[in-house]
């Protein structure tokens, strides 16, 4: 039922949320995003390239991101930035994330009854 070695579940939709968040801060390219997530989370979260690139492509074809190619020191990079639609999407995701996690937190904490 479970056997992941790295992030033991709980990761559904998280990469999309984090990527959108990072890109709203500033333009970045795929490889950079992979490391930014590792670094800023102090290794707590590790999202591989096999996750990042597909998300990037999907987000772009959805119109949430736009890209431009740029060559830096002989390295060809594809920089992504958030579109207006992407911003809205991020806002939605962030809100969902917040309300879901707080609901779960409530369930885990308030052992007995719940209610307001």
């Amino acid at each position: 039922m479970a056997s992941r070695t790295t992030n033991p579940n709980f990761m559904n939709g998280v990469p999309e949320l984090l990527i959108l968040h990072l890109l709203e801060e500033r333009e970045m390219y795929g490889y950079e995003i992979v490391q930014a997530i590792r670094d800023r989370s102090r290794e707590a979260i590790a999202v591989g390239e096999g996750v990042v690139y597909p998300v990037l492509h999907a987000l772009e074809s959805d119109g949430a991101l736009k890209s431009r190619r740029k060559t830096v020191q002989g390295r060809s990079r594809i920089y992504y930035s958030v579109t207006r639609a992407g911003s809205r999407r991020l806002a939605d995701l962030a809100e969902n994330w917040t309300s879901l996690t707080s609901a779960i937190h409530g369930l885990l904490a308030g052992g007995k009854h719940a209610l307001s």
Copy 2:
């Protein structure tokens, strides 16, 4: 890339965590769990029977739960309770959940740099 109508992603592993948590509090049966989650989260989280029963079965065959059949008012119910192994599993899951969500929260909040 996303299209779920109910819980918009972010649900990976959560049902298992919640079920284990509820059952540690007290013995419950499947149908009851479905409603307990709905009720205690004030509709914020809705986990269908199609999710709960398979998780229950998997958890039991993993030795994390044990069950006993009981008939109440002509209704046949299967009550589940947490084994020692299930308790450990819950502790692990809860810890992972906490550290992951706090890492994500940190990423989302601390816009610029991170570090201690």
